[in-house]
Symmetry: C3
Subunit: 254 residues, 3 copies
Amino acid sequence: LGPLVTLTTDFGLADSYVAEMKAVLLARCPRARVIDVTHQIPPQDVLAASVILERMLRVCPAGTIHVSVVDPGVGTARKLLLAKVADQYVLCPDNGLITWPWRRLPDSRAAHDLNWPPPTPASSTFHGRDILAPAAAALAAGECSASELVGIPVAPILLDVAPATKASDVVIIHIDGFGNAITNLPAELIHGIRLRSVKVGRRVIPVRRTYGDVPPARPLALIGSSGLLEVAVRDGNAARTLRLKVGSRLTIGG
Amino acid sequence: LGPLVTLTTDFGLADSYVAEMKAVLLARCPRARVIDVTHQIPPQDVLAASVILERMLRVCPAGTIHVSVVDPGVGTARKLLLAKVADQYVLCPDNGLITWPWRRLPDSRAAHDLNWPPPTPASSTFHGRDILAPAAAALAAGECSASELVGIPVAPILLDVAPATKASDVVIIHIDGFGNAITNLPAELIHGIRLRSVKVGRRVIPVRRTYGDVPPARPLALIGSSGLLEVAVRDGNAARTLRLKVGSRLTIGG
Amino acid sequence: LGPLVTLTTDFGLADSYVAEMKAVLLARCPRARVIDVTHQIPPQDVLAASVILERMLRVCPAGTIHVSVVDPGVGTARKLLLAKVADQYVLCPDNGLITWPWRRLPDSRAAHDLNWPPPTPASSTFHGRDILAPAAAALAAGECSASELVGIPVAPILLDVAPATKASDVVIIHIDGFGNAITNLPAELIHGIRLRSVKVGRRVIPVRRTYGDVPPARPLALIGSSGLLEVAVRDGNAARTLRLKVGSRLTIGG
């Protein structure tokens, strides 16, 4: 059996686009085991794809190949990356998508421009199918080593988002499908201190262990399943209820 | 090749939550063959998950492992179950989710509390990924037998829904994505009698074999593909047209 | 490892219907590698399924088995087809679904009525699970040859849509999930001429290579990733902006 190959896109599920990528991948590497992460990244939301990519890197085994295609610049001069993070491979456009894994999992990371002649001429609108999927397949099948796929090492383009290192840096970086608002504050930073509450605007929100620790419809902050502080409403939608969005600031230990 | 492992959740498809469960499962049991059932169970709708689980148990081969996660009580004192039904395994919270298979497929069923130290400390909000997926993988890989995963036999928590045994018991238990309204009346109960119509409120609805047996936009009742009587509207939405919902009663043979 | 088997339906993702087809398929042919194309074909939109099927036939390897179930006539006298197109197999209702592959990939195509006793009695409402999935599995597993599954060769039912062969024939045949409007004009027909613009009503739209060649929110026409001319709006929805729908005509070389 071959390596895990994960696919993340903003293609939606109504068309055959994702399936075409899979067909190309599985035709060239029949043994690959494909996992769809999500294809409902909001259109062109590079940051959302970046946050989700890092979650996958935390749970996948070494050698996994992640293909993430949120690519508003397809067909223009933007580069494609092959990055190595957490002993896994990432194939994605060089448009900031690598940011969150790059900054949160910094050990022995590396990025290179993908430099590989695709097996058939690439369309000008679908590099996910025509370049990234065959490159992932070549890597998964052991047809090429990672170093044969790349050119020079590069400093990837990065978005303006990073893990918080002090209380005044805490900001919402992601809203999930349930309306949970995920911050950039890693659990390890608050294990030392005894954080009892956070403030959203003027509202004080208790820090608890799990949803069941507050009554239904009440807000709480908790360490979420990717090890970041998040704001939730039990059985509800925190982003809507508390009017949180990506970029909203939180006051810690107020 | 390993056993089938089915996944059912209310996690939706916009996030990486389902994919994280799969990554954990496939890292530990590479040979598992994973089938997504649906991840669009209405939030916390334990009965809907229960009805869908029973459909899967009817079509999957012996040895299949079903993981169903609709789990409003995650992180609280609720138990997790490992049940055996129809020679297949079910891993789910002990919150009533097992009800419909338990009551409709009663032969040699059994349920135990899952009692298994997960390989890494479980988060307090994502037991699907941190306990159920690795348990399913351990079972699928043959790493543990089912009896090594469990504690004492238990009488699982059951919802107040059961197959109809007499005409006055017939009730809608599920509305599917097309608006078909599925009852608790098993086909085997009406094979003897010659059922020509059912009544929804005062409306008489003919019993037919298939949709094409009535004109477009007209209601009918028929034996659906899980062997239960259901109410449909040809090329339409019965639940909306006839204002049916879970719990609505039907008059049989009126 | 077995062949690729692709699944396309209008079943949606909220129910277990797709998963039941997969369970039947994988129980009978454990080695099949299943690709979900989409299950969000608009209800009963046979033409949309046909256009998507042809896209998959262009990217899948020889021997792939495509199961496409958009089947308003289920349970009536409509036939089921086993067609061979582009050295691949298609199992679908004989309701026009084969049209676009049949007309665009005409080399050594053939169609036969499926004539195969399903292993268990078929329901009257779910032939995808009860006939097409086991037939696909029997073929994928090498249990039967294609010729053992079929009766007489047939001329399949065809919709009134075909590749354009002259400028006055150009028409929108598909709107994708992004609102891109795909025409029936194959790229090979315009490689000779130097097409600079097309007209939608009175609006002149430039022909370009990729989205990035026009400013955001501006329309363009381009050769899409299935080799057909399509009309798009950069970072926007062409169908909505330009009021295009299936059947809308384009003026070429105006």
